[in-house]
């Protein structure tokens, strides 16, 4: 019996560093101008998984990511840090999926990896901050969920103890497995890449990526099965297409508006003693303060 952990990780545009060129003239988002990164809380999720692996010889950590071809980078990045292997769920038919359709696809992939002990995801992805995919995947798998984990003080064959970070404090819970966990940013930072693993996995490729490689490379790839990152499509998942993409997404975007500033006539002043003295006087006289 092995102890299997599935980590859900998403590649996201780095919305924390949105530059001026992030918006196109027509008001749409210029995704190309935003670097694609490993969703920050998914790194916390990976770390909690790897800490369990540190403690248990029988533990296997598998990364699962859904996205375009280039999201294979997430699988490699996770392997550099200690994950055993990973899968990329990718298909045009997934395009336009909202959280419900996404969690449906992810739950089918998780089921293919049964039996598993834990499904660990980040609390939320920074591109939308919805925090819905974790709990929705748990529901689709019909397993309990523990959200906002910051530490896992105890793991045995039958149960797990989790410390949760809530708005107003800390709660510690004990849960059976299989279980879905979402991880909060207050969990430990993810360990860095390990040089040895980087060397080992830097040539890991999906079948699609392999098409751009040379023949020599393909030979190497075939000799070393650990270099193969599996791609799963709608067919591999035996998914009902009606439940994917736009048709499987009950939420529709009705309208996108550019943010228009309601310009006020701002009184501009300097930081001189005189200006600030006058401002404070004015605020006190108009009873805004004081």
């Amino acid at each position: 019996m092995s102890f299997r952990i599935i980590v859900l990780a998403k590649q996201v545009p780095d919305t924390r560093n949105v530059g001026k060129d992030a918006m196109k003239a027509d008001g749409t988002v210029n995704r190309a101008a935003l670097p694609a990164i490993f969703n920050p809380e998914d790194l916390n999720a990976l770390e909690l998984a790897l800490r369990i692996k540190d403690q248990r010889k029988d533990c296997e950590v598998i990364v699962l990511t859904m996205g375009p071809f280039r999201a294979a980078e997430i699988v490699r990045e996770a392997m550099y840090r200690g994950a055993d292997r990973g899968y990329l769920i990718t298909d045009r038919k997934f395009a336009g999926s909202d959280t419900l359709a996404t969690s449906y696809a992810i739950s089918l992939a998780v089921k293919k990896l049964e039996p598993y002990n834990l499904v660990i995801s980040g609390r939320q992805a920074i591109d939308g901050d919805t925090a819905q995919v974790g709990p929705q995947t748990a529901e689709k798998l019909n397993i309990p969920q523990v959200t906002y984990a910051e530490d896992i003080p105890e793991v045995t064959d039958t149960h797990i103890v989790i410390k949760r970070r809530l708005e107003l404090g800390i709660e510690t819970v004990k849960a059976p497995m299989p279980l879905a966990i979402t991880v909060h940013s207050s969990a430990p930072d993810c360990r860095q890449r390990v040089a040895k693993l980087l060397m080992k996995y830097k040539h890991a490729r999906t079948v699609t990526e392999l098409q751009n490689e040379t023949k020599d490379y393909t030979e190497l790839y075939n000799q070393r099965p650990y270099l193969q990152i599996d791609e799963w499509t709608v067919d591999d998942l035996h998914a009902d297409v009606e439940m994917l993409g736009l048709s499987g997404s009950p939420t529709k975007v009705k309208k996108i508006e550019n943010v228009v500033f309601a310009h006020k006539d701002s009184k501009v002043m300097t930081s001189s003693d005189e200006d600030i003295n006058n401002l404070m006087k004015e605020l006190i006289e108009s009873h805004v303060i004081g």
Binding site: V133, T147, E171, A175, S249, I256, E257, H263, V288
Partner: protein
């Protein structure tokens, strides 16, 4: 048309949470617009007379699930009860607080009912929709409005086909308003014994350390908010000094919280609290839309920024061009000099 439901949270002090009362106030308005009833769901332990806290907000029906194991909140029992109620009542709309609890519960419910859910809405209103593909006209859909994608856009989300239309809303976004102190609704007791099973209690709470919220920036008349431009945790002390003199509270932008200058509880904006003080002093805050979503209804805004072109200046009544390290000590000095 069916009714509007609000899931009400119980706080550590065993009262209905503020965020839930805010949502009831909003729910009341939406229900009146559609000419339907407003219903509340309260799940907890020892809930005797809980209805008295919520009827004044205009609640027509409250579903009370009172059982010894329902407080503190755990996911599976609460979702089993909510699902059972929703399956019977088929709500048109269901609103949850965007809190630790609401964000744990609502997605689970939405997934089980296969319906749409929009997180962190900043505004909810009704509107129509014409679906070209199917040539179908939809009347009075819930427009779920939220900033999206780096805050450069405001998205309006709809769920034309699925019910309930579900949304979460953060604390402070809606205004808490008593409709009528004498308003009386109906209490419906939920038969918890028929719903709850042992398997709902597999996740056990073994320890809890909860604190009452230390900071209450939401109700403060004057807020001094610091951003990334404040530069350090030490510089944030300047903001506390000014807050002390003005009797104000200190808030922060997300960039300031992420940089460790301030605590998360103080974060203002789309993913923090929404505030409407008499005076908002934005110190070293550029004014991204997610930040403005939480403060643009302040009666007066002062921006202190080294950059004349910072977007926050466009919504400020007064813009002081300068560094906070220079400006704030002067504000303290001249406030003291001028206030008798």
């Amino acid at each position: 048309m069916n009714n509007i439901f609000v899931y009400c949270e119980i706080t550590e002090d065993k009262v209905i949470a503020d965020v839930s009362l805010e949502l009831l106030s909003k729910g009341r308005k939406l229900a009146s617009e559609l000419n339907v009833k407003l219903e509340a769901v309260v799940i907890g332990t020892d809930l005797k007379d809980v209805e008295a806290q919520i009827f004044p907000y205009g609640v027509d029906v409250v579903h009370v699930a009172d059982d010894k194991n329902l407080f503190p909140y755990t996911t599976l029992p609460h979702s089993a009860i909510v699902l059972e109620i929703f399956k019977h009542e088929k709500p048109e709309i269901a609103i949850f607080g965007a809190t630790s609890i609401g964000r744990d519960l609502a997605p689970r419910i939405a997934s089980a009912l296969r319906c749409g859910l929009t997180a962190d809405c900043t505004s909810l209103e009704f509107g129509d929709h014409f679906e070209n593909k199917t040539q179908t006209e939809y009347k009075n859909l819930l427009y779920q409005i939220r900033p999206a994608f780096g805050g450069n856009i405001i998205a309006t989300i709809i769920n034309p086909e699925t019910r309930p239309q579900m949304a979460t809303v953060r604390e402070g976004v809606m205004k808490k308003e008593i409709l009528d102190a004498k308003y009386k609704g109906k209490v419906k007791k939920v038969n918890t014994a028929a719903i709850l099973k042992d398997e709902h209690f597999v996740v056990q709470i073994i320890e809890r350390h909860m604190e009452a919220s230390k900071v209450n920036i939401k109700n403060s008349q004057v807020i001094i908010a610091g951003g990334y431009g404040v530069g350090s945790r030490e510089n944030f002390k300047l903001l506390y000094d000014l807050a002390d003199v003005l009797g104000a509270q200190v808030g922060a932008s997300r960039a300031a919280v992420d940089a460790g200058f301030s605590e998360h509880e103080r974060q203002i904006g789309q993913t923090g609290v929404t505030v409407r003080p008499k005076l908002y002093i934005a110190c070293g805050i550029s004014g991204a839309v997610q930040h403005r979503a939480g403060m643009d209804q302040s009666a007066q805004i002062i921006s202190i920024n080294t950059d004349l072109n910072a977007p926050i200046n466009h919504i400020a009544d007064f813009t002081i061009i300068g560094s906070i390290t220079d400006v704030i000590p002067k504000m303290i000095k001249y406030y003291k000099a001028n206030s008798k």
